[in-house]
């Protein structure tokens, strides 16, 4: 589904990703952990095609396509979804209009028939309920005045509506109370159908208690420093990243 080979990426001329490799197969859940500033969000942005984040070398294949060749919206329509760490507020555009446009674009791409207004509304209500957002939120501007937790739940709601094939969740758990955390995790789990894949970026084991990963990777200094199973996350929880320095020295 996704294969990243030796990916280097810079922002404003500063190299952030320094030769990153990652393979994700259909249905898999990969957790990515790592210290602040390691480049986790950068990875998400580069994969989504954000302009300022420039892939300088390496190869990324997504569903047999050269991902780096595609525009931001083409990548999204190809099935890539990034749940943002800090979703923006867009007061001039209503959530409803936004969702309608994006769902319609996704369905068109997949060759599906468009939803009728009634079908769309029904699906949007159901998705809202699933992430515990009041339906009235649909009428508000995109993320306008939403609390931190509401924004995160809104991201998951969009994911449910768009039915992507690869979901990258960038700290969808941070800033959530324990109930909201469960809501987000349940939302994600409801979308696990054996084909859809997930990259879950998080700092905390507690999310992985709810979303069982198949693999855990530690991203440090722009590279995957270590990969393992769910037990790796528990190690990090217990002892932090101090060991990384030894690891890097050992590598040097």
């Amino acid at each position: 589904m996704l294969s990243i080979k030796n990916l280097h990426a810079s922002i404003e001329g500063k190299e952030i990703l320094k030769g990153l490799n990652l393979n994700v197969k259909p249905g898999e859940v990969h957790a990515i952990m790592g210290p602040n500033g390691a480049g986790k969000s950068t990875l998400g942005y580069v994969l989504s095609g954000r302009e300022e984040y420039e892939a300088t070398s390496g190869k990324v294949e997504f569903e047999q396509r050269d991902l780096l060749e595609l525009e931001v919206d083409e990548r999204a329509r190809a099935g890539l979804f990034l749940a943002f760490q800090y979703p923006v507020e867009i007061p001039g555009v209503s959530n409803m209009e936004f969702l309608k446009e994006s769902v319609s674009a996704a369905r068109k791409e997949r060759g599906q028939e468009q939803l009728t207004a009634a079908e769309f509304l029904k699906a949007a209500r159901a998705a809202c309920e699933q992430v515990n957002l009041p339906v009235e939120f649909l009428r508000r501007g995109v993320n306008e005045g939403f609390s931190g937790g509401e924004k995160k739940r809104n991201e998951i709601m969009q994911m449910i509506m768009l039915e992507p094939t690869l979901c990258i969740l960038d700290e969808s758990d941070s800033g959530l109370d324990i109930d909201a955390l469960k809501v987000v995790a349940d939302g994600v789990n409801s979308q696990r159908d054996g084909k859809r894949s997930f990259i879950v970026i998080t700092h905390y084991q507690r999310l992985l208690d709810f979303i069982q990963p198949d693999f855990v990777h530690i991203l440090a200094d722009g590279k995957i420093a270590k990969s393992g199973g769910p037990e790796l996350a528990k190690e990090v929880e217990a002892s932090g990243y101090a060991w990384l320095e030894n690891h890097e020295e050992a590598n040097a």
Binding site: V72, A76, G92, F98, S102
Partner: protein, 420 residues
């Protein structure tokens, strides 16, 4: 003086019709007016260079094909001019009672007398091209709506221009007391034409005028004109101007609150493409107390286009209790696009409520990215993020048929505008 203006004076000197006395006055003024340069305040941001040495032909007779643009459900009374020449037989129009429409060119003495009460009674005489129009507009219409008559059908004056032709025309409107009318001035045409079009409106006591002016000329055109309104007591004006911008497109819209309790709502929309230029000058004068003005000019400027907005609301010493608002909002779509905006309030009365301001926004790349990251194309995302504030003014147009016709045109135009 420019070669073009010298030609104007030359041609105007030989005009001989019932308006000749007024034309002569205009000529005298023209002869002593110097050609505007960048140092002329009124023309500071709009260069007349392209006009200075232009020589175009005048149309001699009307074109056979003169179709007014089709607007579904508008059901208007159409008067069409092609290159300044009438293409509509005014005498054949089937008009409702209380409405008369006459050609200025062959007005009877009675009509001449009525029209003289409007001609140059509203338009300020400082405008160089207004004077040119005074001197050379041999064609035009005088529309009179009798007191108390409420017209249901809109009246549309269509000015079509074509390449290589210069034309001048005039619209005079008298709205009697308690009368009600909708008047649409529609200008359009492709190619390197030159046209001046000035309209004067006398709005009677408690009369209501719904006004539209569309300057939808192509990018090579030179179009200079104005619409000028004199407000009677407790009268209402709702005016919407829509400009596409051209090589030179300049509209002056002026309102005089000549009697108390009048209300003027003035909206203006401009959407400018490649190298188009649009200049809106507006002067709204409150001479008497208790008047209200609400003006909103909004535009989107792309590529290397330039918009100029100069809006002044002048509140004289006696104009107490005036309510006035003047706002100009702009979106710049590219680095090469320019906007020069000067909204100004000049207040000499002490008991008034006024607000004014101008904003210039640029494309919010972060918002655009968010929408695109959800699969929405850049083009569509731009429309969603930026068309709203234009759409708002379109939806304020009281005539729904016109709004329904205009909206897709503007959307389409916006969608093709360059954003980088």
């Amino acid at each position: 003086m420019s070669q073009w203006l010298a030609n104007v004076i030359d041609r105007a000197s030989s005009v001989n019709d019932w308006l000749s006395p007024v034309r002569q006055e205009a000529l005298t003024r023209l002869k002593s007016t110097s050609w505007p340069t960048r140092r002329t305040e009124e023309w500071r941001y709009t260069s007349l260079h392209a006009l200075a040495n232009l020589t175009l032909n005048e149309a001699t007779n009307s074109k056979a094909l003169a179709e007014a643009p089709v607007v579904s459900n508008l059901n208007s009374i159409d008067i069409v001019f092609v290159d300044g020449v009438p293409a509509t037989d005014l005498t054949a129009l089937n008009l409702p009672a209380g409405l008369t429409i006459h050609s200025l060119a062959n007005a009877s003495e009675a009509i001449q007398q009525q029209a003289s009460k409007v001609f140059n009674q509203v338009k300020p005489d400082a405008h160089l091209f207004g004077l040119v129009n005074d001197a050379l507009a041999l064609q035009g219409v005088f529309i009179n709506v009798a007191a108390g008559v409420q017209l249901e059908q809109p009246i549309r004056v269509v000015n079509l221009v074509s390449a290589g032709i210069e034309s001048h025309n005039r619209v005079l409107v008298n709205l009697g007391a308690n009368a009600q009318a909708t008047i649409i001035e529609h200008g359009a045409g492709q190619g390197n034409s030159m046209n001046t079009a000035f309209a004067e409106y006398v709005i009677g006591t408690e009369a209501k005028l719904e006004h539209y002016r569309f300057a939808l000329h192509g990018e090579e055109a030179i179009h200079i004109g104005g619409c000028h309104f004199k407000m009677g007591e407790s009268s209402r004006l709702n005016s919407t101007i829509v400009g596409y911008g051209s090589q030179i497109s300049r509209i002056d819209t002026d309102v005089v609150h000549a009697a108390e309790h009048a209300l003027a709502k003035m909206n203006c929309i401009y959407l400018l493409g490649p190298k188009e230029h649009f200049d809106l000058h507006s002067l709204i004068e409150h001479v008497v107390p208790n008047g209200t003005t609400e003006q909103n000019a909004r535009g989107i400027v792309g590529d290397k286009a330039r918009a100029v907005f100069s809006g002044r609301i002048l509140i004289h010493r006696d104009a107490q209790k005036t309510l006035a608002e003047l706002h100009n909002r702009n979106l710049l779509m590219s680095r090469g696009a320019q906007i020069s905006t000067t909204p100004a309030l000049e207040i000499y009365a002490d008991d008034v409520q006024c607000a004014h301001g101008a904003t210039i926004a640029e494309i919010a790349e972060e918002d655009l990215y968010y929408l695109q990251a959800r699969g929405i194309s850049r083009k569509q995302a731009l429309i969603m993020l930026n068309f709203g504030f234009i759409q708002e003014l379109v939806s304020q147009m009281p005539n729904k048929a016109l709004a329904a016709w205009l909206e897709p045109l503007l959307r389409e135009r916006f969608a093709t505008m360059e954003s980088e």
